[in-house]
Amino acid sequence: MSELNEIMNPIKENICLPEFLVYERPDTLTEQEFHYCPGCGHSTVHKLLMEVVSEMGIVGDTIGVAPVGCSVFAYHYLGVDMQQAAHGRACAVATGIKRVMPEKIVFTYQGDGDLAAIGTAETVHAANRGENLLVIFINNGIYGMTSGQMAPTSLEGMVTTTSPYGRDVLTQGYPLKISELLAHLPGVYYVTRQAVNTAGNVRKTKKALQRGLEYQKKNLGFCLVEVVSNCPSNLKMTPLESNEFVANQMIPFYPLGDIKVPEVK
């Protein structure tokens, strides 16, 4: 505990007892502090994923694949065995892992550039082969790592550094709904779109991640959890404003909820 923490956090000894603990940082996250900008949804999803892995007791059975993009360093934070993949190739790398270690739980963690632009082929084909993977897709509609260029998922009219007059769909194409696209494939078992802009949505996202991993445990096929997220720095907004952007602009175009749900038997 640092000095600041000691001074500012007087601990109520009658409440702060292990039996009354309702939330703490999951031990599956490493000690490393997130490099993400304040308010970034990436870290929220990292945290949720590690909560689920911890709760399911699969830390030793899980292998993750980090993408290229803002979350390239995911392996510094997620306390499971990880591989860092070339840009867009996470689903291929994950296929390689899963095929030789089918008993393990394998996930990829990818942004919209990695998954829906440069890695579209890898994503579509892994999905179509019905690879038993959980693909976590963070859609914030913009390129974060390279600072604010247009993503395939950027909204129509959205101003980015490479669409300075707003995305013109006639020349720059339409925002890509990758989840809907993949949901059509027979190898795909579960597709859902969630968000992390409110506490309620965070809860639902966690549940979705849990479902994805549980389906994988049963080898039911390809699972995709899309998380509509924010990018305060590149949207040039405060974190709160960026979450409002998510609620008012992103979610209307990328509606939340399950897109492909397994039939209940």
């Binding site: 830390v59 390239v72 392996y75 591989q83 190739r89 790398v93 390689g96 082929a121």
Partner: protein, 355 residues
């Protein structure tokens, strides 16, 4: 003694892969090496339980290799020139992350889509790195179907020993031709518990990760030093070559793979005419057998380098001899194969008639 069979180069390579206890193959069909995936699809899984998967592209295949190699498995892919070009990104990552794997390039004529006929135009992209950054692959150059088999075993051994990608650089002719071949017996598929492999975080220990990203330049330089040190050891200990008639040679012919075998015939024809020709055939193109060329150079009148390209290995030959002897070139390109007669004619043109 193992089984003796009459086999196609590509099939022998595939059979060797199965017998070497390979855990997984990921690949994409391309002429002239499509038999590999076909053979494995037919034989491998049912015999050893090996994973065989047809990827959607070479880009994907090499990244599947990355993933599986990262789990400490014995893995291999094959392709031909345009496909190998697509794999260069992945190979750079694999070299940097220090993962062991084996890649075979059944070289065809290029550039571009080129032809489906045999060529050796991928020497540069094989031995000089190929992808981005400072790295090398160990490059083995078979000249016969037998060596296609032998180098699969050797390739896996070197890959494991140095945690490095190894490439078998053959060509369409070696892939397609049939020869007598002795196969080594089936090896066990071994599960090796590498401390670096991502197989699920061991209880009570820290998680492992495989990456080629080191954002601190100091750290990245350190990684580079590690790689370079490894390459230096290879240059000292892993050089392999075949030499013929070096004792009385006044001239040398040199080449690798199929071109070298044709040279041997040309050398025989030349010796029958009284020319004292010797021969050096590098079996490892990286590490390159620099020393033997340097040793022979001062006492010979010239070297004819023969390749099925515009002259690529010749650069390494010239660097090796350091100007101490003449090095001339004869090559055919784009899928054309030089004949022994042509080679001898060129030898005579440079060293007999012209001298």
């Amino acid at each position: 003694m193992g089984d003796v069979k009459f086999m196609k180069g590509n099939e022998a390579l595939s059979e060797a892969m199965i017998r070497a206890g390979c855990d997984a193959y990921f690949g994409y069909p391309i002429t002239p090496q499509s038999e590999v995936l076909e053979y494995l699809a037919r034989e491998a899984t049912k015999r050893t339980g090996m994973v065989v998967l047809q990827a959607e592209s070479e880009v994907s295949a090499i990244n599947m290799i990355y993933g599986a190699a990262g789990c400490g498995k014995r893995v291999m892919t094959t392709s031909s020139s345009p496909g190998i070009s697509l794999m260069q990104e992945g190979l750079s990552y694999i070299a940097s992350a220090e993962l062991p794997c084996l890649v075979a390039n059944i070289n065809r004529g290029g550039p571009g889509l080129g032809t489906i006929q045999p060529a050796q135009g991928d020497y540069f992209q094989s031995v000089k790195g190929g992808g981005h950054g400072d790295y090398h692959l160990v490059v083995l150059a078979p000249c016969s179907v037998q060596e296609m088999v032998d180098y699969v075993k050797l390739g896996f051994e070197l890959a494991d020993k140095y945690r490095t990608p190894v490439m078998i650089l053959a060509d369409g002719a070696i892939g397609q031709m049939m020869e007598k071949v002795e196969l080594f017996p089936q090896m066990e598929r071994v599960v090796t518990d590498y401390p670096w492999a991502t197989t699920g975080r061991p209880a009570g220990k820290d998680r492992r990760y495989i990456t080629s990203l080191h954002i601190q330049p100091e750290k990245m330089e350190e990684i580079n030093h590690t790689l370079q040190a490894k390459y230096k050891v290879m240059q000292e200990t892993e050089v392999r070559y075949q030499a013929l008639h070096l004792d009385d040679a006044e001239y040398l012919m040199t080449g690798f793979g199929l071109a070298a075998r044709i040279c041997i015939k040309a050398m025989e024809l030349g010796r029958a005419k009284g020319y004292k020709i010797g021969m050096i055939r590098p079996q490892t193109l990286f590490p390159f057998p620099t020393k033997i060329y340097a040793e022979v150079a001062p006492r010979i009148k010239g070297i004819l380098d023969v390749e099925m390209n515009a002259g690529q290995m010749i650069e390494d030959v010239r660097l090796s001899v350091e100007g101490k002897t003449r090095v001339e070139f004869f090559g055919r390109m784009g899928g054309m194969i030089p004949s022994p007669d042509e080679i001898l004619e060129n030898f005579e043109k440079y060293f007999i008639k012209g001298s």
